[in-house]
Symmetry: none
Subunit: 178 residues, 4 copies
DNA sequence: CATGAATGAGTCTTCATTCAT
DNA sequence: CATGAATGAAGACTCATTCAT
């Protein structure tokens, strides 16, 4: 893929993500193209249809999250702190969108999405398991459920790391002895 | 209002609420009408446009919730229990929808909505305040914030009273001494 | 026909005529009914469909014009003056409407309209012919054409007897010697 | 603007004008598109809504009239003859439509219409003033009113240069000495 | 017999997608 | 290869007309 084509692709994905966040899920393809400074034709050259674009946004966001998560894991931070860091990053990415897409059925032949979701979850579960071993995270909820829970709390449009909801969720997850 | 008209109106509101919950916010008016067994014209006679219909659904749900909340308050239950009961009822009503509407600007001249939201909130705050006095609910979060928090947790599409999220929220709200 | 029914009918016809003049030809049947203070059902009881109503307005207006024209003819006024009087009356009646209807095809089985148009024309032609004999109206245009001309000048929406157009038409029709 | 787009635009404007003249102001957009041999989408790409289309027709007609009027003025014809020529051209253009539009309020930001009307009127007034100086047009009516008058006579649906109405108007405007 | 609720065909308009330039 | 014009299916909404109350 040529350098300019790659740049266009990037540009479209990030522009579209921003537009979806700012103006809801009904932005038109035309508008996305205009905001990205390209013609619709170009948009469709990169993404055969709307779903492909939305999926690309998700893949992009999940990829960034995964990169970040792995970087964090290589750092020397506690499991609990890792969870918090990753969750903060979640709120900075268009993951509400990603989630709504994940909820739907993935396009056949485009299997990146489930794999990425899997990988991100693995990263989070590992952090959660560590935190449980460290005694900071409740042990009566399986790590898998902890993650599901955090996902719900964080993958809402407009979620922020210091939302009352997110704060209380972390309080609720804190091991009672801690 | 004639008896058959009232019946149709009810029918439309409940059918539409169900459809919105099942199939998302983009169901077409035509489809709603068909599901309710009436013509589009009838739909539009009762609700001048889509927004009016959605608003009516919210008003209806909030009204039911308020009725229930007041009935609960007259019962001899603890504040904590009242909270749980009201919250359970929330999950049975299309309040995710209601909330998304409340977020938008109310239609001019149709001031029921803010009033209802107010009234429901008052009911919930009263239960929360009682629970704080009873020593079962954390006192370091103002009752008002507790409600905001619960609203966020409960007014998601598909929320259930025994969701992990809702369970953890309640755990997080429990007074540490309790 | 009962007295109240006749009164309703009258009411509807005049109300509708006013509305058509004020707000153009697209007023809805519902609105006409509301303005007349009756239900749509009543409106439809009197007029099987929209065309019938519009036709009734025309018949009504032409009938009034004919009555007036005959009254004028029985008076002792000159042909020229008669023309002016009748024309003034035209501008007070919703004849622009009437004309647009006449232009269309009359409803089968409702032959009043052509007859009335005929009768009114006859009255006008007679006045014109008298004016020609009196030497006040140009003789080089057949009376029939004079009438056609006046009709065009007068049966416009918003026509008034002292419009520049109408004034010049009368000037142009004046016998040069007069 | 691409060549094919311009061609389509032209095609739509003229087709629509014809249809409006032939079948009245209620022709559907669908029908206009079909008659022009394009899809509705194309129609709407060129004209964001019905009003814009009607306005474009008017602008188009007035522009042609203005071009013609200026060409006539550069010819060596008398004021009276210029008036007649311009008026004949009026009857060949969909100016009845144009006029009905002019009557309504112009779209904000689309100020061509008032300007064009102004320009055409200026052209006509200049011809009228010349005719008055030449002694062929009555001097007791201000040129401006003469134009208003001619406009009324000519901007009717179906007006023709040799209508009795138009003929008599010109007769009525002729200076009595001429 | 009046009323106004119900009906549904028809209108305007939008937008994902295709295709000529 | 980018562009943006063309397409038409689909949705929101209106209104003449019918029919239950």
């Amino acid at each position: 893929m040529r350098a300019d084509a790659r740049r266009n692709r990037e540009l479209i994905v990030t522009t579209a993500a921003d537009l979806f966040v700012e103006r809801g899920p009904e932005v038109s393809m035309e508008e996305i193209a205009r905001a990205a400074g390209v013609g619709v034709g170009t948009l469709y050259r990169h993404f055969p249809d709307r779903r492909a674009l939305v999926e690309a946004i998700s893949v992009d966001a999940l990829q960034r999250l995964l990169d970040y998560g792995r970087a964090v894991s290589e750092q020397d931070v506690s499991g609990w702190e890792a969870l918090r860091l990753i969750v903060r990053r979640c709120t900075e990415l268009p993951l509400a969108l990603a989630t709504s897409v994940t909820g739907g059925s993935a396009l056949p032949g485009r299997a990146e999405l489930p794999g990425l979701v899997q990988a991100v979850n693995a990263e989070l579960e590992w952090a959660a398991a560590r935190a449980q071993r460290e005694g900071t995270l409740r042990r009566d909820i399986p790590a898998r459920e902890v993650i599901a829970l955090i996902s719900v709390a964080v993958c809402r449009p407009g979620a922020r790391i210091d939302d009352p909801l997110v704060r209380v969720v972390f309080d609720g997850l804190r091991a009672t002895g801690a």
